[in-house]
Subunit: 215 residues, 2 copies
């Protein structure tokens, strides 16, 4: 398989973890989002949205949207199972995943940050209150649910890694990049650290990919 | 089943369409989002995020997040099939659905609109440029993909209704509510109108629910 990603992309990170957990061979081409390579015609021909990840599996058209790719991998590939067998547990894992991937992450991507600065003339530090509010809102709900719902175990859903954990970790790593206060979120932290101790998560970490800042 | 929804909610609309297409009996309690009923303790106990929809199916805990609910209904209930059998086609329907439900809709929900006005002191008309930009960005990618990808048929994916169509229609109806120019999006329009001619879509329409403005 061949993935188009970026070191910093939370969405590419999720897919990279799944590929590694399932032991699937892949190559990754790193698109330079800061240089605007996602808007060049070559990449727009792959994904008209100009967003990573895009995954090629054989000769078919590219697969896009991280959660759709995760479901595709789950449905078509072997390796470690990343969704529970029980339909209600699966729905809970997906709901937690979407709390991150739908209701939180899309609010702080580059195109939103740039729009706020350009359209409203906000300096970067004032724009960042929007970003941190997005993180804090998402993390507050995530913490509340994980700390109070019976389904939570060693991981978001019971004692096995599932899609929710891939999304949780992708959000958690962002709190470092965007300097978000994580003190109020101990359950999120516990699960993130449990995940990041697993080699597939650690190897997929944004800061270990080409293009990431060193040291 | 029992759903907590709201007439205007795009996410509740998607689930309402699925319930009707599958012929599943349900009742809906309408949460008054303008009055802030989603923040009251009673509702926060159902969904700590304070968001609709939340769906009860029997005695289990509430199901949340519209796409997770759609997958749950697909996996556990009979009635009309709403995802293709082929894994790649399913991935494409989900990718189009997520383009709407992850990358577009979360940008214009009330909590984001209110934050922009309160944090940055933006008057409503200037805040609305953010909302319309979110719609236009999402619709532009959706139009490009639907107009050029081989998978598009009478509906988003081939000739059968799937999750992508439920999301497309939920976005389309929003263009009316938020006065978004739809002239550049003829393929989106064609599919939306094809869907809205189907009774389940028409009956689920926001403006036909209790609490919606009359006339």
């Amino acid at each position: 398989m061949h993935m188009y990603g970026n070191w910093r992309s939370a969405a590419a990170f999720r897919v990279r973890i799944a590929l590694k957990l399932k032991g699937l061979a892949y190559e990754e081409t790193f698109i330079d989002l800061d240089a605007g390579d996602q808007h060049k015609p070559d990449f727009r021909a792959i994904n008209p949205q100009g967003a990573v990840p895009a995954l090629f599996d054989g000769d078919g058209p590219p697969l896009t949207q991280s959660l759709a790719i995760l479901d595709y991998l789950e449905e078509t590939k072997g390796g470690q199972r990343l969704l529970p067998e029980d339909a209600r547990e699966r729905a809970r894992s997906r709901s937690l995943a979407q709390l991150v991937a739908c209701d939180t992450h899309p609010l702080y991507v580059p195109r939103v940050r740039n729009f706020l600065m350009e359209e409203y003339g906000l300096p970067k530090d004032r724009m960042m209150t929007f970003v941190r509010h997005a993180f804090t809102s998402g993390l507050t709900t995530l913490e509340k649910r994980l700390a109070t719902e019976a389904g939570t175990g060693r991981f978001c859903q019971g004692d096995a890694v599932s899609h929710a954990d891939l999304c949780l970790v992708s959000l958690w790593v962002g709190t470092g990049i965007f300097a978000v206060d994580t003190a109020p979120f101990p359950t999120v932290k516990r699960i993130a650290e449990t995940c990041l101790a697993i080699p597939a998560f650690a190897e997929a970490h944004p800061l270990r990919q080409p293009g990431a800042p060193q040291g």
